[in-house]
Amino acid sequence: MPKDEIKDFRLVGTRPNRPDGLDKVTGRARYGADITAPGMLWGAVLRSPHAHAKILKIDTSKAEALSGVKAVVTRADFPTGLTGEDWNLQENTMAGEKALYDGHAIAAVAATSSQIAQEAVRLIEVEYEVLPHVTDVDDAIKPDAPVIREGAADATVPEGMPPNVVKYFEFGRGDVDAGFKDADLVMERTYKTEATHQGYIEPHACLGQLGADGKGEMWVCTQGQWYIRQMCSAVLGLNAAQLRVTPSEIGGGFGGKTTIFMEPLSLALSQKAGGRPVKIVMSRSEVLRATGPTASASMDVKIGMTKDGKLTAARAEFRMQGGAFPGAPVDMALYCCLAPYKIDNVEHIGYDVLANRPKCAAYRAPGSPMGAFAVESLIDEMCRKLDLDPMDVRLKNAVREGDQASYGPTFGSIGLAEVLEATAKHPNLSAPLGPNQGRGVASGYWFNHSGETSVSLAISEDGNAQVSVGTPDIGGSRASIALMVAETLGIAYEDVRVNVVETGSLGVNEPTHGSRATFASGKAATVAARAAIKEMCRRAANEWGIDEEAVEWVEGAAQPAGPNAGEFPPMSIKEIAKNMGKTGGPISGHHESVPEGVGASFGCHVVDVEVDPETGHTKILRYLVVQDAGRAIHPSYVEGQYQGGAVQGIGWALNEEYVYGDDGRLQNPIFLDYRMPVASDLPMIDTQIVEVPNPGHPFGVRGVGETGITPPLPAIANAIQGATGVRMSHLPMTPTKVLAALKASQE
């Protein structure tokens, strides 16, 4: 597909009402906690008050004796002998020999009411031996830090590294030292970002049932029902196909609902309680203490630039902690941080470090925001030093199709230059600024992802289409998939119903993650629709007694492909459907693959802030998101992704952080203290959708969910420097920190 070919679609690119809208505005939509089952019990979880402690003894006898309690489980009820990530998941689900962080699950109870379950949890007696702990990444990487787990380092870690380093990354190309010599300005800085939480408003909730025969069912709010199935089965030693997992409507995920936390506990409790279903709903403080926030990072960056703005070399060395388990996205951060730039000499080094914090999960473009904060901040500072326009410098060094990415592969069709050009022309970039006001720009990158995908489509008796997809709809993917299927079949948008189905209905699907739902499920649904069309053309050909190849599909009907094919009036999808029982049976199409042709997405944000010199408070005055969508199938939901991502990034930049006390306990496990942006903190979020179609998708889709959280962190820091002259290098940029920096700069 040529880059700038904008096709005229009948439906793609329009903004119909979403199919689940009515249920959601009337309160009917059923989320994780909204369902009950006959004979249902309520579960509750006892959690460690210590950041690091040996579990000497758990006495559950008083809890078991409480009337109404039907089951209590501890780690002793789980199978042993797991290894690798299965062991990590099991250990995180329920502590074994040690509690590894404040909030780590120690035991769980099922009872006839939620109140009794809570009461029973308080009756469980645990003897701990408290151990020294560490929560900060720079402390955790010290050679004499408390050791979280002996022997957890993998083969990438060279001999002699500090004990909490569990993975080590090193890659690059060219000669960075020579590159720095070619530069007119070389600068080196250290940056820190704190852990933040995805902050979905719906706490984790599930209703699990498991019989003595190993057959089970689960209703759960998740981004990926097959991941839940696979992980619960691994942790509990079950046969995966015997567990049927149905996803509820999901109240936000952002990556945080792609893994398990308390889900296996509901199954273990259910089995112990004779197969009665057990519902577990997390409280907000459980969500913040014991689900998967993102990593915190400490990062050194060194960059060389000529006086006309050419980047000559870059070196990035990142340290991240992602809790008491391996998996901080330090590799992703390194891959993404320099991706918008064509630089011949690059070096990347990364350390994944254990600390006494909850096991991190994915959070929207995992790793990319931290890396961008470091690199985009430094580039901006260098532009200011050399008196260069930051947009010019970004455009001058922008990667284009055919360039080798900083992390190795060669870029296919990408739209960074188009994004930067559109940004430079946007009126926000020339809005006048007053005193104490400043403007910042920054770019961001995300690969986007495909993954295992299975979709099935069936034509109903009346000629409508039903589509079964395995990717839960978080931000409007049912609408976008219905648009693509309706476009392909030549029928109305309203005549397509897209269902997110349970694990028993389709082959394995990866979750809705990596911005993949509209790309991968959309592509598979389009291929499935084409298969159904082929079958409908065949039925018409049989009816007319002509060759199948002589029939084409136009506007929802089969018709002879040309004058030579014969003279027949078009046969509509409704007619074909009505007769399908007599012409060969049900008509359907399906597609299973790991769809190829993922298209990466770049974005650029422009923010204007005003900093109050007396309080240090930063107010967002204007905000612009420009991003390449490939093609916007439903532009309103593309804008929604841009806006939502930007505001999460604003929260990360200005307010949000996990605050641990000296005791290693989380100090702010409620929304009052874990302060996310509210409506009165923000202006409208302006968006501009750039469309450089992805040739790897039938409609050009790239995936839009993640890139948008990346630029706000540096863009706001850059704007604060513009407003105050002060460079903030440690997030979040709270009023207290900004005020201290202002004071220090005046001394």
Partner: protein
């Protein structure tokens, strides 16, 4: 703990339930009356997902005990539409794509309705401050604010 019998009016219907004195109004709506449209996002009064009105006053139902509902008039999201006919706010939320996951939506609709009853012509700033107690993590609020402003303008036109 022995339970307490509560009689109250929800969305115009008289209802009764037995409440554990520790249960919140939100628990009672959801677990005893099957009205799961009101959501629990925090349980501490910080997210607004549980917003309902009690005798016309907007509250967080996670902060009121179920037993306190005795003799009160409660309105929840389930009572917002008039049969098949959506409230203009509900319609505008769909039209403006003002929801993604939709989990915050019931609370925001209930809160926005309470605003428009007090102030039919709010400025953007007034809408933003009124809804500052309702967290939405998906949308960045932009489309929510537009939907509320548009519904207000339609309702003023219709009046």
């Amino acid at each position: 703990m022995s339970k307490i019998h509560v009689t109250t009016v929800v969305n115009g219907d008289e209802v009764e339930f037995l409440a554990d004195p520790r249960e919140t109004l939100l628990d009672c709506l959801r677990d005893h009356l099957g009205l799961t449209g009101s959501k629990e996002g925090c349980g501490t009064g910080d997210c607004g997902a549980c917003s309902v009105t009690v005798d016309g006053v907007l509250i967080s139902s996670c902060l009121m005990l179920g037993v306190e509902a005795q003799g009160k008039k409660i309105e929840t999201i389930e009572g917002m539409a008039n049969g098949e006919e959506l409230h203009p706010l509900q319609r505008k939320f769909i039209e403006h794509a003002a929801l993604q996951c939709g989990f915050c939506t019931p609370g925001i609709l209930v809160a926005a309705k309470a605003l428009l009853e007090k102030n039919p012509d709010p400025t953007e700033t007034e809408v933003r401050y009124w809804l500052a107690g309702n967290l939405c993590r998906c949308t960045g609020y932009d489309k929510i604010i537009r939907a509320v402003m548009d519904a207000a303008s339609e309702m003023r036109g219709a009046a």
